[in-house]
Symmetry: C2
Subunit: 134 residues, 2 copies
């Protein structure tokens, strides 16, 4: 069912400093910073030859990554995202298998403009897992 690893998301408290680590120290290609007020984050993408790292900094009140950064002051890996062909079929298969989908179970439009769902970390090896319809 799952296809490509779309991205690995790393939450950080200072996205400019984090971008400099990837651009200058690790020598990677980085995108421009983008504010995503609908998602409560500011994003920078690290473009690797086969996938992306998504840097996330909290934006505004009630950012979905604020609590994670309270617990992980230096930052840390926040989630992984896998691509699926059909997100409704994927969701229904997961629910039938007893896995928990976060929120109301309906796909939302994610930061890349595609339908996404998040799966409960306790059902997926302690790993917050996003599915994105590719």
């Amino acid at each position: 069912m799952i296809g490509r690893l779309n991205h690995v998301a790393i939450a950080v408290s200072d996205i400019d400093a984090a971008t400099a680590v990837y651009r200058d120290t690790l020598g990677a290609e980085v995108s421009a910073k983008e504010e995503q007020p609908d998602h409560g984050v500011c994003t920078v993408f690290i473009n690797l030859p086969n996938t992306k790292i998504e840097l996330l900094e909290p934006l505004g009140d009630n950012s979905p990554i604020a609590k994670f950064l309270e617990k992980n002051a230096s930052g840390g890996i926040h989630h992984v995202c896998y691509e699926v062909d059909d997100i409704i079929a994927a969701r229904d298969k997961l629910l039938a298998d007893g896995a928990r989908v976060l929120g109301d179970g309906e796909p939302k439009i994610g930061a890349h403009g595609k339908p996404v769902l998040f799966l409960h970390p306790k059902d997926f090896l302690g790993t917050l897992t996003e599915l994105e319809e590719a």
Copy 2:
């Protein structure tokens, strides 16, 4: 400097149960389980079209992932691994930039038979970061 994302490693306490989650629930292709006594882990690879997920279960006494699992009982993302062309050149560049390399700074032969180094999480966004000479 960094190239492809070689793998994302997820530490788990029960690798058979974890493999079943990826094989049966997420429908991914999984490798056979392999004991790696030199590295203190048992591994299963999840083969995605563009990269791999590496499942790690502690093996023997003094496994390098034992403490992580004490803190993260459900499992969790342990590290990311990027490919580099020349691991000595990469190490020397990182040291010159003030980044910390774990251990004695000399590459070891990793679980894939290639030279690897681990970088200090505090210098890399709270993320344990492995470099592997591809």
